[in-house]
Symmetry: D2
Subunit: 139 residues, 4 copies
């Protein structure tokens, strides 16, 4: 089975993201994951903002992060994202945060497709089915 | 001229709000101001969420904060808010943050009324004119 | 086996915590969990700030949240916290966020004890062993 | 009098930075200013993290922002920073946020030099005096 496509963004640690322990606060990781996911989605040809404009939301139903090593102000970290599981009504993204060859954190988010006008869960929008399958490595 | 009405909220400092200097990051103060402003607006009889539902936004056009003394995790600070200036198309709120008798910060925000459907600046909604004037101490 | 002690805090949703979907952003939940955890730790007789002053950190090694229903500005949510697992070198807290009888989110965080001077993992500080065991419902 | 040196960073708007009004929340601007200030400080030859390691803090004593036009998710904004005023014991930075030729926000922060070991205000560290004067356009 082919590997999923991996996107990668570089994020400069912000002073505001540190806490009094001197490292990045753990609640920041989901925000970094989201920036990496935005970059990955862009590979479909649609910015996630466009997907919302098409009338859909990719609502987060689950988020998890495993923190291995603190990120510090002054570092620029790499955040990779890929699709780990793709279903007709939702998907699971996986993430890794690294710096200087060391893995700082791993994580995942799960999402369901929601139709904006009704607010109800729905199937993946037809125009996005092929692009997301391609990112997953299926086609 | 009568004094404006002062609302007051107590806010427990969150660990996530500290930075590596060991005190609350300065970008947190506008968020605390907003929580105090929400409490003040409630004295009009309308929660700010209701004001949005009526079809208006109180858009922030200016924010300022003077930081005198750091707030730390473990403290519960008091945040006071009042209307400093009231005009037909906007207003200015003032704030003070204190702990244990010491003033930690002062600040202000300026806002303009915006009509949600059009996104255009507008006059204060009629139903809110009297309640806001009352908070300002005019009536 | 006795039930663990459950602490509970009430948190007013902040405007700044919402995103353009109109609900609280998922990265806010770990911050709410932390505020509930702070309250739970206080039942040991030590504020978490005191625990740091004693020379220890409870470093977050894992965070997870399952989001069931969006929280909105104007709501005050309840956040409950309890110890789900207690080990000699770490522990796992569990959380629930509810509003008006509905469960909005569930989550958990895992932590390891770290000795501040050395930065190395360590056993639970002796003075905290009994209080944490009591919260766990062991004694 | 020569112009101060202007640094510039590009910042991709994060979904988490938006609020239910559909634009970036005003409390985010000080965080963006800080990222631009970090970049500007780097032109002295010292990352701000290095300045802290030298034993100094540049504590924020004032922050202000004037918001002209909302920033939205999907945009990458430019943030410029320069030294507006340089004194022996502190300084004032100014900022501009723009997108696609339009000015979105302007702001400023004021800082005082603090000696880390004592926590007392102090004069600008000797090694930094010339580099900061250079950025100010004095030399």
């Amino acid at each position: 089975m082919p590997e999923p496509f991996r996107s990668r963004v570089l994020i400069e640690v912000r002073y505001a993201e540190t806490d009094q322990m001197g490292v990045v606060h753990h609640a920041v990781y989901p925000v970094w994951f989201e920036q990496a996911r935005t970059r990955l989605c862009l590979e479909t040809g649609y910015h996630y903002a466009d997907i919302e404009n098409l009338g859909y939301y990719l609502v987060v139903s689950r988020v998890e992060a495993r923190l291995l090593k603190g990120a510090t102000y002054g570092q620029t970290v790499g955040v990779s994202a890929w699709i780990e599981r793709l279903q007709s009504r939702g998907l699971r993204f996986a993430y890794e945060v690294d710096h200087s060859g060391a893995l700082l954190a791993k994580g995942a988010t799960e999402h369901i497709w929601v139709d904006r006008p009704t607010g109800k869960p729905c199937r993946i929008p037809e125009v996005l089915a092929e692009p997301f399958a391609r990112l997953k490595g299926r086609t």
